[in-house]
């Protein structure tokens, strides 16, 4: 092909060059065949991760249940692994207590924020506040834990004098603050996608904004709102660091939020940081608890997906 360049006036023949390169293309063709296979392999990693999680949890749980009976595990009311008591109820109770407190904080605040942003705030305000609110979701949980322990608890202690340093209230409250943006953001999206024509219909009848919100927007966006709440609850169930730092390490079947409790996640952290020997019953109990936790969050996520798929509003 250099010849074509040297002799002036003689134009280069691109098609001829392509023709010549075509024979070299077998390498390219081989790549073309290998690439999809490589990509599929990578896509399989996520499937393998799921399989790995299920395998891990199941196998080690089975190891655990060969030492502790399934019935004792799920019906026992005392969790004291270092003295051989494996009734998981206090851990589940702790998790539920934290989740309940968090939900009580996050759902009203998140929903009201969503209504404010979607229906009352103008575009400018929304464009500033929404991302700032979402910063709350990006703060590392260990930072929240620190905040709960060193600020929220002392603050609450001013009102509730006999509140311990470790208590479910501060932990649950801060988990609630953390999941506000999940509720607010996703609900706001759902409300925003309610078409204006529906609102205008109600305004045309003389309704106030508030009446439009409650009679038109909220019912129309209901499935999106519920899905956002369920997802936020699932997040609260799996939250680890805040409750480990602030809510204590006392497996305690109580619904008194001022007491120190222990959640499933906090137990896993405690057992993993302690001197847990590989293969011991406590080691296996990590996985039995992990399995229970996994099932809780999986069910929540499936419910959320089901709601948003089944009741997707079509406008």
């Amino acid at each position: 092909m250099d010849k074509g360049l040297q002799s002036e006036g003689k134009m280069i023949d691109v098609q001829q060059m392509i023709e010549r390169n075509k024979n070299k293309k077998s390498f390219g063709e081989r790549i073309e065949k290998i690439i999809p296979f490589f990509l599929l392999l990578c896509a399989a990693v996520s499937v393998l991760t799921t399989v790995g999680i299920l395998f891990t949890l199941l196998r080690e749980s089975i190891g655990f249940f060969s030492n502790v009976s399934l019935i004792d595990f799920y019906t026992g009311t005392s969790w004291s692994p270092w003295s051989g008591e494996y009734g998981v109820a206090p851990l589940i109770g702790g998790t539920l207590l934290i989740t309940l407190i968090a939900t009580l904080v996050a759902v009203p605040l998140g929903l009201m924020s969503a209504i404010f942003l979607s229906e009352y705030a103008n575009d400018k305000v929304r464009r500033v506040i929404k991302p700032v609110l979402e910063v709350l979701a990006g703060i590392p949980t260990v930072v929240y834990g620190y905040f709960a322990l060193t600020f929220i608890t002392p603050m609450f202690q001013a009102f509730i004098p006999d509140l311990g340093i470790f208590n479910a209230l501060s932990g649950g409250f801060v988990v609630g603050i953390m999941i506000i943006p999940m509720v607010a953001s996703l609900s706001e999206d759902a409300m925003n996608s309610v078409p204006n024509a529906l609102r205008e219909g109600a305004y045309g009848l003389g309704a106030t904004k508030l009446e439009v919100v409650f009679k038109v927007v909220l019912p129309a966006a209901l499935s999106g709102i519920i899905a956002s709440i369920v997802l936020a609850i699932s997040r609260a169930i799996g939250e680890t660091m805040i409750v480990t730092i602030a809510a204590g390490a006392t497996p305690n079947l109580t619904f008194n939020p001022t007491e120190s409790i222990q959640t499933m996640t906090a137990f896993i952290v405690q057992a993993a940081t302690g001197d847990t020997t590989f293969g011991s019953t406590i080691y296996y109990s990590l996985y039995a608890v992990g399995m229970t936790l996994f099932v809780f969050t999986l069910v929540m996520n499936l419910i959320a997906q089901y709601i948003s798929r089944k009741f997707r509003e079509e406008y």
Partner: protein, 292 residues
């Protein structure tokens, strides 16, 4: 009669309007609560930590005395860990996204992969820690090392990266793909020379945001055994390591008040790193948004 009726309506109307106003204020205040706590949190961390923050603090290893303790091992450990996480999660995540968007046939298996990724994103991070403990720490026998932590975290953020990369790949206009095929380009040539270059800003933004989630994660790393006190930097993939959140957690748990200031200083460093990463993501997004 009629006049009375009208007056009633008017009266009720006034009530309705006033109620609307009251609730509007309530909604606004509810929105403010979240923001107030955000401000409180930053204020608290800054006032607690700023006194202990210094160059020495950034350059020191952990120490038994609050005045001498530093975040150096955690900072460098976090950086090393993020490099490992980025390499694995971005390569696998982008490849998965390309497979799903460009190659995968529309069948049950593809749907299964999609749903699976969606569900993985909802699994609590601590469960990933258990996965890492079984596979990377014990089964692969990596022990409590950098590579075990890195792989665990890579799997944790993989779903986030896949979803971001999918969106980026999907947003490449069909017209320019057509142009490439119309020139006789093969599928892979089109992906490598047209789709990926056009999708890279979106992929990078998503990857940085996912990594900034990973850099603040604590729980899974506790499970796969990141060290709490370490006096050397990791010198290989199989070295012991620590990261900033683990250091912060460790200091927060100590009873003496001084340690909380040390933890506060650590949080300032961690948040600064997060702020830096997010700023880069925003910059990339703004720079390339006008195109396509």
């Amino acid at each position: 009669m009629l006049g009375q009726n009208e007056q009633n309506i008017k009266k009720r109307m006034e009530g309705r309007v006033a109620f609307n106003k009251i609730l509007m204020v309530l909604f606004g205040m509810a929105t403010a609560v979240g923001l107030v706590f955000l401000v409180l949190l930053f204020y608290r961390v800054l006032t607690q930590g700023i006194g202990y923050l210094s160059l020495d603090y950034i350059m020191n290893f952990p120490a038994p005395y609050p005045e001498k303790a530093g975040i150096y091992a955690g900072l460098i450990g976090s950086v090393f860990l993020m490099i490992i996480v980025a390499i694995f999660s971005v390569i696998i995540g982008v490849a998965t996204a390309i497979y799903l968007e460009e190659y995968a046939a529309k069948n049950k298996f593809t749907d299964f992969i999609r749903v699976n990724i969606q569900n993985l994103a909802g699994v609590p991070s601590i469960v990933f820690g258990l996965l890492g403990l079984t596979f990377f720490v014990y089964m692969f026998n990596f022990g409590y090392t950098l590579i075990a932590g890195g792989l665990t975290m890579a799997l944790l953020i993989l779903p986030v990266i896949v979803v971001a990369a999918q969106e980026a790949v999907r947003s490449v206009p069909a017209e320019i793909k057509e142009a490439s095929y119309g020139m006789g380009a093969s599928k892979w040539q089109t992906i490598a020379r047209v789709i990926l270059p056009a999708a890279i800003p979106g992929i990078l933004t998503g990857a940085i945001i996912a990594l900034s989630r990973a850099i603040g994660e604590t729980a899974p790393l506790i499970i796969v055994g990141a060290a709490t006190a370490i006096y050397t930097l990791p010198d290989s993939l199989l070295a012991k390591y620590t990261v900033m959140p683990i250091q912060i957690y460790n200091w927060t748990g100590r009873p003496q008040e001084e340690w909380q200031y040390v933890a506060g200083a650590g949080i300032i460093v961690l948040l600064a790193v997060l702020l830096l990463m997010n700023s880069i993501a925003v910059l990339i997004r703004n720079k390339y948004q006008r195109r396509l």
